[in-house]
């Protein structure tokens, strides 16, 4: 079986960090001033304003702590109406209900994304969370996207 395609390769990689090799890593950045951020950008540091080479890529481990979550009960997909003869989307749309979490990564930044395989018990703020890749493709092509789940 071939390696699945990563949906947002600019944001994360299947490979973990040296500290957390078993979970996907996130592609963040570190400024000369010490500020660590996600996702990587070189427009300018959000703390000190340094730009360009002062901002360097850094792999962030896929481990963090849940600081908030919300079960979403209503969601309207804003995808443009498919034109006749257009190919169906390659990725499954979000369908309510789903759960969004704010996760403070152990490397610093807070990210918000979908949570999977969770129940109310595991959703208390303070819960340790880890990143995982889940299949989101609709067709033959294997496509994976990043989610967070409770650490075991």
């Amino acid at each position: 079986m071939s390696t699945p395609e990563v949906l947002k390769a600019a944001l994360y990689a299947a490979e973990g960090t040296a500290a957390v090799p078993d979970h996907p890593s996130l592609k963040g950045g570190r400024c000369q001033c010490g500020y660590v951020f996600f996702p990587l950008q070189t427009y300018g540091c959000e703390v000190c304003g340094r730009t360009g080479d002062a901002l360097q890529p850094v792999a962030l481990s896929g481990r963090g702590t849940l600081i908030a979550s919300a079960r979403v009960h209503i969601h309207a997909n804003r995808a443009p109406a498919a034109k006749p003869g257009a190919k169906p989307p390659e990725v499954k749309p979000h369908e309510a209900p789903f759960t969004i979490g704010s996760i403070k990564l152990e490397d610093g930044p807070t990210v918000r994304t979908l949570l999977v395989d969770i129940d109310d018990r595991t959703l208390a703020p303070g819960q340790k969370m880890v990143a995982k890749l889940v299949s989101v493709g609709t067709g033959d092509k294997a496509i994976v996207d990043l989610r967070f789940t409770a650490a075991t």
């Binding site: 947002k8 600019a10 944001l11 994360y12 996702p39 950008q41 427009y43 600081i67 908030a68 979550s69 919300a70 079960r71 979403v72 009960h73 209503i74 969601h75 804003r78 979000h94 789903f98 969004i100 704010s102 990210v111 918000r112 994304t113 979908l114 703020p125 990043l146």
Partner: protein, 254 residues
């Protein structure tokens, strides 16, 4: 050194007007904004040519909405500026009208907020910086996450947060311009349709349309145009005076 507004000359609210807030209808935005402005002019008892500048706050109408609306008040050739500042577009328009009058650039200025629901592409999607799941995180979920974080930090329960909506609906029931004008019990708020996190439908802003207009003026204009001068400092109230004349930005403690 920079000045603050109260270091400049006093600014007074001399007229206010509304088109009530309501669900999306077929009414063009022009006929939301114009009635609000005409009501504010009538409230101040001045005429449109007395207004020297206009600030139009709108988030979703699109480019240059004010020109196509204000022209129906008659051509005066006065400057107009559009202000898009997300949810704060109307209050930012008011602030700039006050600054212009306080600075002495104009004696009478109009601030109007007018909007209708519409789909605009939010600028953060055009920054070239990706995001993990912003297509799944609409504003109500942003606020649901903040609510959850706040509740956890301060030991607040969902019913405590819902009491804010009980208070807001009670106020709305007293306001003929409010989108929602029905008082609601805590049970109704909590038992409503779940939206995101602990937030239910009656705890989330309705998306609708409406308009509000404010005319601000200097003391010079109030005297020159005979706008209810009784409320100015050092004057006795006269019968039939205009009670809406209020100084903006009182010094702290006043």
């Amino acid at each position: 050194m920079a000045k603050i507004l109260k270091d400049l000359r006093p600014v007074y609210v001399v007229g206010v007007g509304w088109h009530r807030y309501q669900p999306l209808s077929d009414t063009p935005y022009v006929m939301l904004g114009l009635p609000a402005i005409r009501q504010a002019l009538a409230d101040a008892a001045i005429a449109w040519p007395d207004v020297e500048s206009s600030y139009i706050g709108t988030g979703l109408l699109g480019m240059a909405a004010g020109r196509a609306m204000l022209k129906h008040l008659g051509a005066t050739g006065r400057p107009l500026v559009h202000i898009e500042n997300a949810s704060a577009s109307g209050s930012a328009a008011f602030r700039h009208a006050c600054i212009e009058v306080a600075a002495g650039i104009a004696d009478v200025s109009l601030a109007v907020g007018v909007d209708k629901p519409g789909i605009v592409q939010r600028a953060f999607t055009k920054t070239g910086i990706g995001n993990l799941a912003d297509d799944a995180i609409v504003p109500f979920t942003h606020f649901a996450l903040l609510t959850n974080e706040y509740a956890d930090k301060h030991g607040v329960k969902p019913q405590d947060v819902a009491l804010v909506a009980v208070k807001n609906h009670r106020n709305g029931a007293l306001n003929p311009n409010a989108h929602r004008q029905q008082a609601r019990s805590l049970e109704e708020i909590l038992g409503g349709k779940p939206v995101s996190g602990t937030l239910t439908a009656l705890q989330c802003c309705p998306v609708g349309e409406g308009a509000a207009a404010v005319i601000v003026a200097s003391e010079d204009a109030i005297k020159r145009l005979g706008i209810g001068p009784a409320m100015l400092p050092g004057r006795r109230r006269r019968r039939g005076c205009h009670r809406r004349v209020r100084r903006c930005y009182q010094a702290p403690g006043h």
